[in-house]
Structure formats: structure tokens, C-alpha cells
Symmetry: C2
Amino acid sequence: MRLSARVDYALRAAAELAATDSRAVTAEHLATTQKIPRKFLENILLQLRRAGLVRSLRGAEGGYLLARPPAEISLADIIRGVDGPLANVRGERPEHLNYSGTALPLQRVWIALRASERAILETVTLADIASGELPVSVREIAEDPQAWLARPTG
Amino acid sequence: MRLSARVDYALRAAAELAATDSRAVTAEHLATTQKIPRKFLENILLQLRRAGLVRSLRGAEGGYLLARPPAEISLADIIRGVDGPLANVRGERPEHLNYSGTALPLQRVWIALRASERAILETVTLADIASGELPVSVREIAEDPQAWLARPTG
DNA sequence: ACCGTCTCGACAGGAATAATCGGATCATGC
DNA sequence: GCATGATCCGATTATTCCTGTCGAGACGGT
């Protein structure tokens, strides 16, 4: 799991939008409150708009707002919107790999890994982030003190 | 989840080593059977050796072999050996992030995500790959037909 | 008409990634 | 001791990706 700055920014901006329901928020405001380079953010917001995740309004009183209710936008939607498919191995989707010989079972591991990422990223919505209340299944995992250690023990 | 060529190569080579127990295998052989650029592979094998995961023998009859029994080397070990920490956000470890405002709950999501990746990558060993028999917990996830779809439904 | 905002392609600098080169070093057999 | 076969390893290149910036244009509201 490697999250690029682009994805990180997109999610933080989206979270901010989710918190400010029904009013348009300017790129400038998002940039300063979340400490994101402004022009870079514009770039990202444009991507999100083309992905159908945010709407935009021009002119005075303009800005950005979510295209759907926050509860209907998952983190996975955002990530895919700016960074393409969630999972890939050397640029290939896991299901398209053709490993040979001993390496063959690796493909099933990547599939499992992706499924398990989806279980989280498809479940958590912007509404969850905005309210601070994560779904139980996710909270259970995050609450394990082991999960917060840099290096897993045993 | 983005797997670099380096990691992919490392895992495939390691799988090959796991299958060929107790004999040393040359870089040349690994490169051809797994279709990996040879000099690049040497580079990777050197990293694995420095990480204490493989041993090497020089001279005729030389080559590489695993430093420990395959059952005692997890995929996570290999990945960390060549690519550093499993998870990071913009170069920072998830536990070191300091999000502010609305974005705050995101950190817990990354922690959960990492934990759930670990659950797979720490569990699956090279012995599992070599035998083709994945742990039940992983197999259950990988066997779900949903997991093989490019885009999740519902 | 004017101001504030989004729109959007181009592009630059740097970092990461992928891969290669060439030689040094070491073990083994003869 | 010499040839051979292999690892060792720093240096180097090539390419792609990532981050971030610029500037001119389009558009909405007043």
C-alpha cells in the first residue's frame, strides 16, 4: 500500500467537502485549510469532477461540492478517480497476470489482497470520515493496538 | 496496493528458491525460468542477501538459496527486504501522520488497511507458494468470484 | 463591464524505478 | 597456480512517474 500525495490530497479535500454540505467551497479555501498546494489541488479537483464525484460552480460564490451525498461516495471511488485502479502489479491488473511455474500461486495472493483492500475502501464513505464514525468492521481492525505498531510482533 | 517490478521479481525468485530446496540455484537459472532481466535480478538477490533472507555461494556450483526454511519466510519479509516498509502515505508511516480537521479519521483507515494487508502478507509463506496450498484464511478470500472481478459490484 | 472563480493544456524539475556495465572477488577443479 | 564459473557491487544510464507551477481562456453573477 503506497498512497501518493495526489490521492492523499484528493481524500482530504473530499473529506472537507463532505463536512461542508450543500455550500460550494473554493479551491483556495480547501488548499489553505488542508495545506495543499493550490494549483495542484485545482488539478486534482478537475479530475474528481471528470470522474463525476464533485460538481463545480464558476463565478463569485463559486467553488466545489460533492456530486452525491457523502454517504454514497466511498474512499475507493475517490482513489480510483484520481489514481486509476486500486491494485496493480507492474502496471497489470491482478487478474490479468500470467505467472508461470512456481510463481503461479502468487496471483491468488494478489487477488486476496485486493479483495481485502476493497473490503475497507469500498465500505468507508465520506460521510463516515466527516462524522468521525468509522464502520464497525473497520473500527475493530483499527482498534487493535497491534495495528499501530511499526513492526508486527509474532 | 502497487507492486513494483522489483518486488514482483523478488517474490518470484524467492518462490523458485523455495521450490528448489537445499541446492544452490544460479542467478542465470532464476532469470531464465522466471523471465527476469539477469543483472537486475542479481541486484535484487544482493538486497535479499543483505536482508538475511537468502544465502549465496560463489564459484562453480555456486548460486543462491534461502537462509531459512521456506515456511519461516513470509511474503512480507521479502517485500520489506527489497522495498522497505509495507505501507506508507506520502513517504510517512501511517502511525506518524498528523492530519488536521476533517481529515483526521483518515489515519485510522490507513492503520486498518495496513493491518489487513499484514494479515495476508505475514501469513503466507514461501512454503505455501511452493506447495501451492495457501492458508485457509487467504484461500477463502481468493475463492470468492467477486474478488476476481475488475470492478466490484454492489 | 468587471471581478472572482473554475478550466485545462503545457511544462519543468526532481525523484523513483528499471535496467545495464564492467570489473573485482572468491571457490573449485584440474 | 591457473582457468572457469559464479557472486559482488558501485557507478551509470534511461525512462517513467510524481509533484508542482504557469498562464491564458471561459464562464457566472452583479
